[in-house]
């Protein structure tokens, strides 16, 4: 068992803000990925005692930046008024890009290379591009290369309307490039492996919606900063949450990944959304210099690799080593956030920890790790209700975990990552 331990300077999670998550509705949404991050970042920086130019760097996770803002971290820094001198960069670890940005910020703070870092994630999945197919690109290159009229004519003869069928960038992004399964199919694998029924998944999904609505009513989403369109339209809240979500209704939906036999539907999967979540990280010196009152401290983090065809178990593989390093059990923590990519995937994580064989074969344990108390897990709902703007989700669950914890409380945020990875962070509320 590799046991990287955190040593050196403490890393503070000072404050954070996120946009409402806006559900993609079959058309490009009103905000680009950088627009979303700018609105969250402006609100977050506005309430700080320092100026944007005082930041040491800006790190942004983004799984699908548009072609004109590939280094979207730098775009964000400049658009926030950080000035020319504050570096900005972009990280990409699929669904954990936002968590990776936090981890990268923490590393630089721990190494003494930075004191004050804005980090998080953003994605505007509704604006994922439609691409020309490879066949169409080949045809176009022939067409542009044709000079003589005869060549042009020959090229035209080779044209077929079918060449125009676009490749949907989003589906490409959500398909594993090595094993060729899309993310939904990896979740089907888990449902099959752990015998999770469709009804159980739908019940889990309905609960996610109900928990989110109850939390909203209780004012538990203080980290949300509303979005304002240039037209003056306000988006105050996550717009994919449904009050009318019931297991019965969800039961009527058709499977979308393994048609027609599968168990995973749009209803028991996370929603395709646009959103951004940002946190401010600081060293001890920066906390003192600016008189900051941090929300909490980043205690530990871990990244793990596993079979890409079972990527949904990533949280199990990433969180377990942290528990071991700190010699704590699943329920010794006060709160858990496991990103709900799919109901089946979260349920499979719980099942894996309860499964003696799985724990022995994959985690090197003597027996099952235990049963995670569901009253500690995703108590304000998850990505099935709130949405999953891929690059932002890792930062969102860390931020929301901090908001859930009471002073002195400790909690874990963990996320599964397409490609067969898991990420987890242990935080402590101050």
């Amino acid at each position: 068992m590799p046991a990287p331990t955190f040593s050196g300077a403490p890393v503070y999670l000072v404050d954070g803000a996120r946009t409402p998550f806006l559900k993609a509705r079959n058309a490009p949404g009103p905000f680009s990925a950088s627009d979303l991050a700018v609105q969250a970042g402006r609100a977050l920086l506005l309430r700080q005692p320092f100026a944007p130019t005082d930041l040491d760097e800006v790190i942004l996770g983004c799984a699908a930046p548009s072609p004109d803002e590939v280094n979207i971290g730098r775009v964000l820094a400049l658009r926030l008024g950080c000035g020319h001198k504050v570096p900005g960069w972009t990280v990409m670890r699929n669904c954990a890009s936002g968590m990776q940005a936090i981890d990268s910020a923490a590393s630089n703070i721990r190494a003494g290379q930075a004191d004050l870092v804005l980090a998080g994630g953003t994605d505007a999945l509704s604006r994922a591009p439609l691409l020309f197919s490879d066949a169409m690109v080949r045809w176009l290159s022939g067409w542009y290369g044709a000079r003589a009229a005869g060549q042009k004519l020959a090229a035209l003869k080779r044209f077929r309307p079918g060449l125009l069928a676009p490749v949907i960038g989003l589906l490409k992004g959500l398909t594993d490039p090595v094993v060729g399964l899309n993310m939904g199919q990896t979740a089907e694998n888990l449902a099959w492996q752990f015998g999770i029924s469709r009804a159980e998944m739908d019940a889990h999904a309905a609960r996610s919606h109900h928990r989110t609505l109850a939390a909203r009513a209780a004012g538990a989403f203080g980290e949300i900063s509303p979005l304002v369109e240039n037209s003056g339209r306000v988006h105050p809240d996550d717009d994919g949450v449904r009050a009318d979500s019931t297991p019965e209704k969800l039961g009527t939906l058709r499977p979308v990944f393994d048609k027609p036999y599968g168990r995973i539907t749009a209803g028991n999967s996370s929603q395709v959304t646009d959103g951004a979540a940002l946190l401010l990280l600081a060293s001890e010196q920066a906390v003192e210099k600016w008189g900051l009152q941090p929300l909490g401290r980043l205690v530990d983090s871990h990244w793990a690799g596993l079979d890409p065809a079972r990527m949904g178990l990533g949280p199990v593989h990433a969180a377990t080593p942290i528990l071991q390093r700190h010699d704590i059990g699943l329920n010794d923590l006060d709160a858990w956030e496991i990103n709900e990519a799919f109901a089946a995937q979260v349920m499979a994580c719980l099942a894996a920890w309860e499964d003696a064989d799985y724990c022995r074969d994959n985690l090197g344990l003597d027996g099952p790790l235990g049963s995670l108390d569901q009253e500690k897990l995703n108590t304000d709902g998850g990505a099935i209700a709130v949405g999953h703007p891929v690059g932002a989700s890792g930062a969102r669950i860390v931020l929301h975990l901090l908001h859930r914890l009471k002073s002195g409380g400790r909690g874990m945020a963990a996320i599964c990552i397409g490609g067969g990875l898991g990420g987890a962070m242990l935080v402590e509320r101050i």
């Binding site: 700018v38 402006r42 506005l46 309430r47 005692p49 100026a51 658009r79 926030l80 008024g81 509303p226 304002v228 369109e229 240039n230 037209s231 003056g232 339209r233 306000v234 105050p236």
Partner: protein
């Protein structure tokens, strides 16, 4: 050859670079010393003609700002006028006739005589920067572009566009200059020298106008002139503004040569209108200079109150490059203000990235965090003494000590607000006019005991956002509203006496006002006019016509009906009747009386500033030189 203002360099290729860097001046103007040296320079080049000649500026500020306004404003004879026009006309004709190719490399403003010099060159290259502006603004000073502009601009671009440019005085940017054919190319600064060298040595003939444009400047000239006369007539009366009519005539009948019609020229240049417009130009410079007393370069502004005024002030500041936090009780109100900013940004910022940056700078701040970071905080909430006092006291505690704290109140006493503060001396008034984007004036109000450093910073801030600051002392209505109130009330009393509103407005439009008093009252809002009238005109009874309409909730433009009806933003007016004798004088008299009284009371420092304030704050007929100047010149003309 010894030159003070020009520098002539010849490079190895035989190319000559003439750089204008006028001595002891921030900007290049074509004073007689500068044009005399240009003549010498041409003499010198005649001895040993270069392969090409490039004109450029040695100033960071721009290319050439125009003629020297002091020189022509001091003209006192027809002969002097003729000589001044001939100086530039002959010189630029000579430049246009040299055998070697010539080019103007235009970076920054290129106005009036500067553009006329450029037009006399074979080629023009404009540098693609926001500061590059080309124009012939002579008409705004009541004169004509007599140094070849009227002849050569219509030879470069289509005559209707050329006339529009000369008649409006509007400038165009580099890209439009290229698009219309005024410039041969539009290039980024990094290649401007290479582009100038390449073009001037290219041997290419001067750009020839397309056939249609040649027809418009030739046989079809009469059609274009007739059309232009019609357009000008809709905007300005010849007795008030003779210059635009003269421009059309000089182009149409004399090929743009003002020397061919010396009587017209002298009448224009020495007309009261030209003198008054030049006077206003200098008054404007005087207002601008108020901003120089403090080095504050404000970067962040916090505005509280996202209503029409507060929201529009915030949008304007963001447009001018400042970072603005906008606070109100609900995000929805702030968002609505952002929605109102959208068409302004859309109109004023062409570049989509620059427009996005303006939106990024306009930050909703419902919790008011921005006050702590701001260089200037502006309070623009509803007019309630206690609400404002509470807000100002709270703001003071959170603000940086050197930041300006300003109120946009128009009806409350600043002294009553200031006492809410721990340091009452820091409060100043900053009174914008509606619509903010259109009105150039901002009254900077000095309450008793105000800190002079704060006032100086406020003036500097007003300049930073490109408005004209007018210092006034705290008094009801300050200057602008105080002079408007008795004028509007008098107009409404005329309605009570049975004169039709349209007739009253027609009388004042004939006087030269941009909008008649009745329509102005409708625009301001009749409820506001009633309240202001009560406050600013003492205990007198409000006009019956006003009270009745307010009673009926006919509040003017905003309610769709006041003295007039409003449909789809248009005023529905009956035809004006015949205007009774002396009506305009009757209406304008209370305005002038009040302006004089305010000068006498020291509310505004002198008559010139009062004139500037009333012109830039109300649009008061500019050709008159302002209300007090108007009264003085009338008294001079009518011996008692």
């Amino acid at each position: 050859m010894k030159l003070k203002h020009w520098k002539l360099d010849r490079d190895a290729d035989g190319l000559a670079w003439a750089t204008l860097d006028k001595a002891d001046a921030a900007a290049n103007t074509l004073s007689s010393a500068v044009t005399d040296e240009l003549a010498q320079l041409l003499d010198h080049l005649e001895q040993e003609p270069p392969k090409g000649l490039v004109f450029r500026s040695g100033k960071a500020a721009g290319f050439i700002a125009g003629a020297d306004i002091e020189e022509f404003s001091s003209l006192d004879s027809a002969e002097g006028t003729r000589a001044l026009v001939a100086r530039g006309w002959d010189l630029f004709n000579r430049l246009a006739g040299v055998a070697y190719p010539t080019l103007a490399l235009i970076r920054g403003h290129c106005l009036g005589g500067g553009l006329e010099l450029s037009l006399a060159c074979r080629y023009r290259i404009v540098v693609d920067e926001p500061g590059t502006k080309l124009g012939l603004p002579e008409v705004m000073l009541g004169i004509v572009p007599g140094w070849g502009g009227m002849k050569r601009l219509p030879e470069r671009i289509a005559a209707p566009a050329a006339l529009d440019m000369m008649l409006s005085g509007r400038t165009m940017d580099a890209r439009k200059a290229k698009r219309l054919g005024l410039a041969d190319d539009c290039v980024p600064p990094r290649v401007m020298d290479a582009a100038a060298r390449g073009l001037v040595l290219s041997g290419r003939p001067a750009r020839r106008q397309p056939l249609l444009e040649r027809l418009l400047n030739g046989p079809l000239r009469f059609v274009v002139a007739a059309q232009a006369r019609k357009q000008v007539a809709a905007k300005a009366r010849p007795e008030h503004y003779p210059a635009p009519y003269a421009i059309i005539d000089l182009w149409h009948k004399h090929g743009g040569n003002a020397l061919a019609a010396p009587d017209v020229l002298d009448r224009i240049v020495r007309s009261p209108t030209a003198r008054n417009l030049v006077r206003i130009f200098f008054l404007q410079e005087r207002l601008k200079a108020f901003g120089k007393k403090s080095a504050l370069a404000a970067r962040r502004v916090h505005v509280v109150g996202a209503g029409i005024m507060g929201g529009d002030i915030a949008a304007w500041c963001a447009l001018r490059g400042l970072t603005v936090t906008l606070q109100d009780q609900s995000l929805e109100r702030v968002a609505a203000a952002i929605g109102r900013a959208a068409p302004l940004f859309e109109r004023r910022i062409r570049d989509p990235l620059a427009r996005r940056a303006a939106f990024d700078r306009l930050i909703p701040d419902p919790e008011g965090h921005g006050a702590a970071h701001a260089d200037v905080v502006i309070e623009a909430i509803f007019e309630d003494l206690e609400a404002k006092r509470g807000l100002l006291a709270a703001l003071e505690q959170r603000m940086r000590p050197e930041a300006v704290l300003a109120t946009n109140t128009s009806s409350l006493r600043l002294e009553d607000l200031a006492t809410a503060l721990a340091s009452p001396g820091r409060l100043v008034g900053i009174h914008f006019f509606n619509p903010v984007a259109k009105m150039p004036l901002v009254e900077v109000v000095e309450p008793d005991g105000a800190d002079p450093a704060m006032l100086a910073r406020t003036h500097a801030f007003v300049r930073t956002i490109d408005k004209l600051p007018l210092p006034v002392r705290s008094a009801p209505g300050f200057l602008v509203n105080a002079v408007l109130a008795p004028y509007l009330l008098e107009a409404m009393r005329c309605v009570d006496e049975g004169i039709a509103p349209a007739t009253i407005d027609a009388a004042m439009e004939a006087f030269g006002m941009p909008m008649g008093p009745i329509e102005l009252a409708d625009t301001v809002g009749l409820d506001i006019a009633l309240a202001a009238g009560r406050q600013l005109a003492g205990a007198t009874e409000p006009p019956r016509c006003l009270a009745e309409r307010v009673e009926r909730k006919e509040l003017g433009r905003k309610s769709g009906r006041g003295f007039y009806a409003y449909q789809d933003g248009r005023t529905v007016k009956a035809a004006a009747g015949s205007i009774p004798d002396g009506l305009a004088q009757r209406l304008v008299t209370p305005l002038i009386d009040r302006a004089q009284a305010l000068v006498d009371a020291g509310i505004v420092a002198d008559g010139d500033l009062a004139d500037a304030g009333v012109i830039f704050g109300t649009g008061f007929a500019p050709f008159t030189g302002g209300p007090l100047h108007y009264r003085k010149t009338r008294a001079d003309q009518q011996p008692q």
